[in-house]
Symmetry: C4
Subunit: 237 residues, 4 copies
């Protein structure tokens, strides 16, 4: 894949996540640079739904933009830099305030895979409590490499980590996969909350083998929803 194609995918990812309601005016998505594993691509500070190719900047793993061109940067770019640093297998990252996951961020109910589309949750979904790493009086944001590194540790090998009073971070091995995961994390949260109410807390989740097997299967068909989401997102905005 050329870097141009990678940027095109990243622009589509921004627009898709906005169109699908995972992000609103806030949230961001990045991709590890195709040719240089110590760099990543991320938009300047702006609403994801308005991002175009010209808005994508190249960052180092220190969280600095190589050529910021006078742009304001996302305060929380250290979410991306520190996860790429700690987890070499990660190639793409979404940070959002995905609405249905917020209730799971502020309660002790674990997010678990209710159906095969969200089977990647089977690896566990830890909660990052910023008070542990940043004390009781932060502004809730991952505004330093230290906070980013703490979040990357809590994430571990999971696909998703929730952030108390804030949102979540989702990782994947491609832009298509991370968008798929961010969208189905939102869907799972909404449906799991419904199921817990309906079943009075007795819900039959995927077991760990089902989750692992379904994840392998889903990874082979990521392009199917991507084409639909892309068409819808580019048409609507």
């Amino acid at each position: 894949m050329t870097v141009e194609a990678q940027i095109e995918d990243l622009v589509a990812a921004n627009r898709i996540l906005s169109d699908q309601g995972v992000v609103d005016g806030f949230g961001h998505v990045s991709a590890r640079h195709e040719e240089e594993a110590t760099h990543f691509l991320l938009a300047r500070s702006m609403a994801p739904g308005l991002v175009t190719a010209d808005d994508i900047l190249k960052f180092g793993l220190d969280g600095n933009a190589l050529d910021p061109r006078g742009c304001t940067l996302y305060v929380e770019r250290f979410i991306h830099s520190e996860i790429y640093k700690a987890h070499p297998e990660v190639k793409a990252i979404v940070h959002s305030h995905s609405p249905s996951i917020i209730p799971f961020c502020v309660t002790s109910v674990p997010l678990r895979p209710i159906y095969h589309m969200s089977s990647f949750l089977g690896a566990g979904v830890p909660i990052f409590e910023i008070r542990d790493a940043g004390g009781p009086a932060t502004d809730m944001l991952i505004r330093s490499p230290e906070l980013g590194a703490a979040l990357a540790r809590i994430l571990g090998k999971s696909a998703v980590a929730l952030m108390r009073g804030h949102g979540n971070v989702v990782v994947g091995t491609s832009v298509q996969q991370v968008v798929f995961r961010a969208i189905y994390t939102e869907v799972n949260a909404k449906l799991q909350a419904e199921a817990l109410r309906l079943g009075q807390d007795k819900v039959n989740f995927l077991n760990s083998e089902e989750a692992a097997n379904a994840t392998a299967t889903n990874n082979a068909v990521l392009n199917r929803p991507w084409e639909l989401w892309k068409r819808q997102a580019l048409a609507s905005g």
Copy 2:
């Protein structure tokens, strides 16, 4: 009806189910071939919302496409082939991950007809547990004729069967009827969950005679919502 007209209806069904939120990037709808009862029509593997007439392929009851034209096929085409084989009266089938039915797939709360539009649920809605037919470590998919046959047996004479941790299958005697049923199964699930909460589990469902009579009445007016849904779906995409 000509096969051309049947394909046109099947394309509309794909677009309607997507526009109404019954399917997303996944899910599929088929029709038994108008002229050859041992064959059926189904799209190649793609998001239903993007299907056009050129994407429709002809399948045998072994689940193979007669002329696949190099296309990828839905892994779960055996849902269709085995139900058509086991149930000669079935002329159209929808498989989806219809969101509001997922909570009913993973709890023991039976889906029942809350109003006359979903009266077809009065025939009972069994749940297919893939662990019974495929063991504890499947990828959740109906990826073989054997699993398809097991699902067809659980379905029996019902209009709808739920699939644990996965979605549902809806059958009918025409494309218009199966689309109507798939949409109102989604609506019923959403409203039944609301009613159970509101009434603290005391809900007055249709009785069996009301359900049977309302179904006969609804079958005479399937074209009314179909025309609206078709207009909306074709306008929006």
Copy 3:
């Protein structure tokens, strides 16, 4: 108002109710004839979202169309004819399966005014049980003058009556008012269900004087939302 203007309003009402989600492929809205109080205007049998001026027919209070022009008629036109017959002050009627009211139709929780926009509910919202008038094996529809008359009796002087396992009927003194009431009945049902859950059944509703006074106030501003809804409905379809 000329009959032409009245028909134009009735067409707008059909489109608004569809655009606002009060009706889907089913449901209907009528107006008592401007010049002949023993007649009313109602569309031929079709989805409200597709109605144009050419689809409006004139009916007598026996439920027959004066000149049906070969059109199929709504089976439930007797809802309209019998309410106009029993309640001379009623000038417009909506029948729908408005989704959020369905749970209130099948439980014993009374619908009450949660805020001033739905203050017209303060007159009480009776439930029509078709088993009382039609026995235990109807198809749920108001398919005769007798069933329509029974419904009109249950409605009494209320603005809204719920129909068990079916939907509701809303009446008003103008097309603008009945559309306003149908929309805010849906909103109230949704918000009341939320409030009952949030407050664990302790909710502070409008008292009867507040409800009566707010209704008088609202009646003076019906045109404000009507202009918005009309613009939105005609733009979207």
Copy 4:
């Protein structure tokens, strides 16, 4: 900022609040006059989603329009005049019937900040009971300077006050800020209700320092969602 630019922002605010579902046919947004602190700008009586620059009128702190040009005025303009009179730091005000806040208006469950986007709720959200100021038989509206002054007193230094059986009022130091706050008050209410159910009333809210710090941070990025909301609102209508 010129008054022309201020009017342009106020028009955008009207359209954004409508597009985001904070207001429907009812509700209004005002701005203290840029050049004359004893005056404010507010539309004539109409649905916010239809407001253009020509519809904006200039009002004094007595609630009268300087040149009404024959237009009907909002009955509740005293919400604006009395809050501007009592609270000199307030520069913009939204009054709405924002749907998700209605359940919090009629129960005793306090609205609290569930995540950093709604951190401004950390200053407390009082409930205005019109029966205290206007007796048990009002029409629920703030139709006099006296009722407006009572509401302004209950509001105090909070960003938001709920109005029992009616809606809410949100204040800010700019049009961008008050729109941000009105939208995230709606989101918070929806998500807090979900979280309370999920966590069986055990929810970990922002503490007061987190809320204050996040509010300072958010105030620096108000333009980011504003640009998105404006683009979406102007495109959709």
